[in-house]
């Protein structure tokens, strides 16, 4: 437990794979004039739109945090240097993780009828994991 970079990377790969699949389906169906396209299904449409929105937001906030990190003057601290921008980077990327998780898991929850207790258990595990990973990230970089 505790590798925050890996966790964010895994969420981004999952989002990339799933959004690629969604976009592949939409493109193939619209290019070949499917008579019953998947975009007619409201749950799919909502999932696709919020996934694309999340990707746009995460790109914007990653660029913003890179700017904050670049502009910060490092201060000498006990046994090393202090960079406070890392804390805001951690906070932003943890919210990206929760955003992606909420978006990706919504479709199977609705369509396959997975009980909400499963979602609650997963979100509890994720919160504990993210807190532990962030703590390690702040402490050791």
């Amino acid at each position: 437990m505790g590798d925050f970079n890996k966790l964010v990377g895994k969420f981004l790969i999952a989002a990339l794979l799933i959004s690629s699949l969604f976009i592949f389906i939409v493109t193939v169906q619209s290019d070949n004039e499917s008579i019953d396209p998947l975009r007619n299904q409201e749950s799919f449409n909502r999932s696709l739109e919020s996934l694309l929105e999340n990707i746009d937001e995460s790109t914007a906030s990653a660029e913003e945090k890179y700017g904050v990190f670049n502009s910060e003057e490092p201060q000498r601290g006990l046994g090393g240097i202090n960079l406070y921008s890392v804390v805001s980077v951690g906070k932003t990327f943890s919210s990206i993780v929760f955003g992606f998780f909420g978006t990706i898991i919504k479709l199977p929850l609705i369509v396959l009828g997975i009980p909400s207790t499963v979602y609650s258990l997963l979100i509890t595990w994720l919160i504990i994991f993210v807190i532990a990973a962030l703590w390690v990230f702040y402490k050791y970089g």
């Binding site: 699949l21 499917s34 007619n40 299904q41 749950s43 898991i105 369509v111 396959l112």
Partner: protein, 108 residues
């Protein structure tokens, strides 16, 4: 969608869509079987190459492949404009794929 007689089938597309008219979930079962066979083949080939296979990643890859083929099924339609795979059947496949991909990515 009424289940028609085999005699009223006029073309190849009609023939392939005919099971859907008789059993709405027919191709869901067919693609489920394809998914399991592909996953098992992937697992076995990886086991032969490396000595040990990963079932979870085989299931994830197989789910993505099966759903991609399923998309082609939504484009095939019979003379009454009934598609081979309805959008809600494809939605089930997509939702299951999302679950398998998530398990695959977060397995360790």
């Amino acid at each position: 969608m009424a289940c028609t007689q085999l005699g009223s089938i006029e073309g190849v597309a009609d023939f392939f869509v005919w099971p859907t008219l008789c059993n709405y979930y027919f191709y869901l079962y067919v693609f489920g079987a394809i998914f399991l066979i592909v996953a098992w083949r992937l697992f076995k080939s990886e086991e032969d190459r490396k000595g040990e296979g990963e079932m979870i990643s085989s299931l994830g890859i197989s789910a993505m492949a099966t759903t991609s083929i399923g998309v082609i099924g939504t484009l095939v339609k019979n003379t009454q404009d009934v598609p081979l795979i309805q959008s809600d059947i494809l939605l089930y496949m997509v939702a299951a794929t999302v679950v398998f991909v998530l398990i695959w990515i977060f397995k360790d």
